[in-house]
Amino acid sequence: MRIFTFLGGVYFFLYFVLPESAVTAIGMKAHHEQISNGFIVIGAMAVGLGIFNIVRAHGSRVVFQRPGWFNSFALLVGLAAIISATAVQWIESTRNSRDISSVQVLGEFATRITDDARTPPTDRVVPPLAQRIAALVRYGDERTELIESHTNLSVEAGTNGATSVLVGEVRERLAAARVKLGELRAASWERLTEDNATLLTQFSQDAAKLASSYSIIKRSHDAHSTSQKVYDFLFDGLFNQLGSAMFALLGVYIAAAAYRAFRVRTVESGLMMMAAVIVMLGQISFGKEIYENMPSLRQWLLEVPNSAAFRAIRLGAGVAGLMLAIRMWLSIESKSFSSGRK
């Protein structure tokens, strides 16, 4: 157990203490992101634990109709609704992203053909130029048809002013790409001449422009999909509203608690109250009516004494955190929690 805890921290500790040249030499720097992701994956695999525990605790309350079962039912409905809505919206947006990238591939492929023809790759085998161009043209025809049908669908679904401009732009770029596809089809591709290379470059640029306009239309179309609306309803209509209300509720309780608990009996509590009043008044326009420099005074209070005292608190807490981290990593802290020691 302890050896596992120690091993868990060795990588990050070494990455921190070793000089950069050593980290680069042993390949840690090059793969740091992937290795860090590997560590995060370990924790991320535990996501199911939370859901499982919630379902187990509240599910049993619903099934056996224990007190508060209706609230547990509401919790489970909320859980199931957000999981399904996020999953469906994610699947749809992934599908659309693939659709958009399939159009972006057109331009990338044309550029790749030019690059490979100019500097033949040594690490992989590529088909002859004419064969690649034939594949590009065939794929281009398929994609342009797809874009046209999707654009027509968007028009049928209803357009506003901004979308009409976009649809017009896509159709214009679609026509330009088709002209270029025709020229690619007609040209001779025994070898890459300067004219052919220019044609491919132009097609690549046109295809990139087409993909960019198409992605805007596609994303604006997706923003109005039912899955997105359900997700927005749950996220903006419920989650955000409830979260804001909860925090706002705490504001009332903080003010009420302060009214009950604070008594300005000593110089120190007077200082605290004065600082609080200055910060609050300095943030509202009424404060400026009382004293013209109230916002500047608030700013000074936050930037000089408050910032310095807070920094001291953080440094103190940081040192304590450092000690705790070292004890945790070296498993010294585990003794406090072991069953043998009460």
Binding site: M1, F4, T5, G8, Y11, N37, I42, G43, M45, G48, L49, G50, I51, A74, L75, V77, G78, A81, I82, T86, S101, V105, E108, R112, D123, V126, P127, Y139, K229, F233, F235, G237, F239, L242, M246, A248, L249, V252, I254, A255, M272, M273, A275, A276, I278, V279, Q283, L302, V304, P305, N306, S307, A308, A312, R314, L315, G318, V319, L322, S331
Partner: protein, 238 residues
């Protein structure tokens, strides 16, 4: 009414109802509040894991592991060769799955391995985090006590810097309990940190209250303007 407007209207109606339900707690705890509180917990606890899967696991781990980031061109060639090293992610994935043995009485020791490993990694990260955070802060705390701007002595800046350094040292000294409090200069200086700390706490309190009140004002505005208007449009008054 088109479907977008209907969804927006439903969002405002339910949002207003949810806000009123949470505020009903100010009168006393009630069933209406508890219902929406549980709904909030349900949504929050479902959203977190989904975001981990959608925004981290899928794009950073699963997609590269399955080779979905490699683009296959129309002629069958690929944008880049598949990197089989990504399959190494299976090791932490399988190791992370040991968490689920926590439910087994017989094999719960397996879950302890992964918990210990994660604790160790968090500890080492915290060590690094402390130096990354505290280092620049300590360096920037060494402010010049006499400041010249364009060749002239700036009394205000000098005073601010001196006050900053003095506050920092006095508050740090206040929290220093390790040795030498009694009768020493350090011990005598310790009470000076208290009033400065109180100023800091007061400023914190003021900022917190203002942040919460800003949210309260936003909620009240939402209910009074948006929600009332939405209810009016539904019952035919708007």
């Amino acid at each position: 009414m088109d479907s977008s407007s209907a969804w927006s209207l439903a969002s405002v109606l339910v949002g207003g109802l949810a806000t009123l339900a949470i505020f009903s707690f100010l009168i006393k705890e009630n069933a209406f509040y508890r219902f929406f509180e549980h709904l909030f917990i349900g949504i929050a606890s479902g959203l977190g894991p989904m975001l981990i899967v959608r925004d981290f696991l899928w794009p950073n781990i699963i997609e590269p592991m399955l080779g979905l980031t490699v683009v296959t061109y129309p002629d069958g060639t690929q944008s880049e060769p598949y990197e089989p090293l990504y399959l190494l992610y299976l090791i932490p994935m399988v190791f992370g799955c040991l968490y689920y043995f926590i439910y087994s009485q017989r094999y719960s020791w397996l879950a302890k391995l992964v918990i210990g490993f994660t604790l160790g990694a968090s500890g080492a990260l915290a060590i690094r985090g402390f130096f990354a955070e505290a280092g620049p802060q300590i360096a920037s705390s060494f402010k010049p006590l006499i400041v010249f701007i364009d060749g002239n002595l700036s009394l205000m800046e000098s005073f601010n810097n001196a006050l900053f350094v003095a506050t920092l040292l006095l508050v740090l000294n206040y929290f220093f309990f390790t040795f030498g409090k009694e009768g020493s200069l350090q011990g005598k200086m310790a009470p000076l940190g208290r009033p400065l700390l109180m100023v800091c706490f007061g400023a914190f309190f003021g900022s917190t209250v203002m942040a919460r009140l800003a949210l309260l004002v936003e909620r009240v505005q939402f209910v009074v303007h948006d929600w009332v208007a939405a209810v009016g449009s539904v019952v035919g008054l708007g």
